[in-house]
């Protein structure tokens, strides 16, 4: 039941995208997002689609897995599409009472819908091909410059990777406690709102206790291994750019240039 969360879930297959340096993927995702906001013509979206399809094929992750992430934004998607559809002024195509659909509105809402869908799929590709640890490693390294102005980059990324690391554990724990209480006749589904909220107590109390227990255990284990923050700490797997990363950067530059060109020419 709660296991169906895709955003931020790693899909373990071996592909070029999986082997790529996380910094490349972070940067690539950023470029893709920027390019989506640059796009305002059919040709631009065609190029973005081409790029996205290429990335999906390269990642070897089943397409159905990426679409799952879209479930979370269905509501947002509906709202933004319908707002754009009905509230944009312009050449009228169709009218139903006070609702009117214009050519510009149709165009805007299509583009807006595509943009949102591509945004989610694009970032899903990154999270599906990068383990949370790689991701925070990449962030730490990319944001390293901020250390100069005393931003605790290492501490933040350590907290992030611990938080990410614990999501699946806590999900599993929730599942286990839920089942244990269901074995004692608990019912988490039926009843009105107050009854439902009340039925969460036997789930939440043990979950919090276990989270605190795990936190103290982890702190102890880190201290036992002399953890003292990021100063002078080396990595077991230092990040290094390979040939595929250089290729990817080249491709990204070309793609971005293409998008800018389409925008200026058309």
């Amino acid at each position: 039941m709660i296991r169906d969360i895709t955003l931020g879930q790693f899909y373990p297959v071996n592909s070029v995208l999986h082997r790529m340096d996380p910094r490349t993927k972070l940067f690539g995702t950023m470029v893709f997002i920027i390019s989506l906001f640059l796009a305002d013509s059919l040709w631009a979206y065609a190029l973005a689609t081409l790029f996205l399809v290429f990335c999906i094929r390269m990642s070897k992750v089943p397409f159905s897995f990426m679409v799952r992430g879209l479930k979370a934004i269905v509501f947002l998607l509906l709202i933004s599409v319908s707002f754009n559809l009905f509230l944009t002024d312009g050449e009228e195509l169709f009218r139903l009472g006070f609702l009117k659909i214009t050519r510009e509105g149709l165009r805007m809402s299509c583009f807006m819908g595509l943009r949102l869908i591509y945004l989610v799929i694009g970032s899903s590709i990154m999270t599906l091909t990068t383990t949370p640890n790689q991701l925070t490693d990449g962030l730490e390294k990319s944001l390293g410059i901020l250390k100069v102005i005393h931003v605790p980059v290492h501490e933040i990324s350590m907290m992030m990777s611990i938080a990410l690391r614990f999501i699946p554990i806590l999900v599993e724990e929730t599942d286990k406690i839920m089942k244990a209480q269901m074995a004692r006749g608990a019912d988490f589904e039926s009843g009105n709102l107050i009854q439902k909220a009340k039925s969460m107590v036997p789930l939440l109390v043990p979950l919090f206790i276990s989270a605190f227990r795990r936190a103290t255990d982890l702190a102890m284990a880190m201290e036992a291994r002399c953890y003292r923050g990021g100063e002078g700490r080396t990595k077991m797997k230092p990040l290094k750019y390979e040939r595929q990363d250089r290729m990817a950067y080249l491709l990204l530059v070309l793609y971005l240039a293409g998008m800018i060109a389409i925008r200026t020419v058309l």
Binding site: A180, A183, R184, P206, I209
Partner: protein, 283 residues
Amino acid sequence: MAIKVEGLNYIYGQGTAFEQHALKDVSFEIPDNQFVGLIGHTGSGKSTLIQHLNGLIRPTSGTIWFNGTDIYSEGYSLKKLRSNVGLVFQYPEHQLFEVDVFSDVCYGPRNLGLGEEEVKERAREALGLVGLKEKYWEQSPFELSGGQKRRVAIAGVLAMRPEVLILDEPTAGLDPRGRDEILDQIKELHDKQGMTILLVSHSMEDIARYADRLMVMNHGEKAFDGPPREVFEHYMELEAMGLAAPQVTYISHALKDAGIPIEDSITTVEEARDAILGLLKRV
């Protein structure tokens, strides 16, 4: 016939890279008042199997009958089933949540919709069955020792008066004394209350001592099923599965190989003692 399982298959994450065939065509019957031991190395499908028996996991294919009724037939109440087939999870003390021991044990029977007096009556009875002294009943469950917490958790399931009790490694992480106490109490539930017991364990010694029957799971399949002494005869195959027979079984086999005419299929220390003393008398 308390529980009957036929052709049970369970596949995790079907159609994804995480796909895992956790149970492959498992079938068995457990008659009333049997004490069954279930062993298997980590990831062999034991935990998945027992969660099927009270309807917490729905099988991919296959049928489960409780007292002759298919538990997924129309209108069958899974809640009722869960009160009849009590399941005690691993580290059950992690599910405690109430302010005091007594209220926590009341949680199960209260969920069954019983009257307040009946609920309290059952809680008192269950706490008595696990042998927890009355002075602890008003304490917070978090102030108790590990073994005591576990008893409270087991009482929480017993308070629903199940006919079948399934326990997933009830002695994990306990000291030897706490372990023996818990197991003796389970044995008593079997002998005196006539409960059907399914005990998942990693300790071959415990299984040999308590169980009438032993089932072995390996890679999601039922590998052996029979009286413990018969199953432990296959100790070579068990080793290949990452399991073992009780240590005395090895000693008796070594003695036999050394030419001493000791009897076969010794599984407990007491049996070994009697057999060796018997041999010595004859000399």
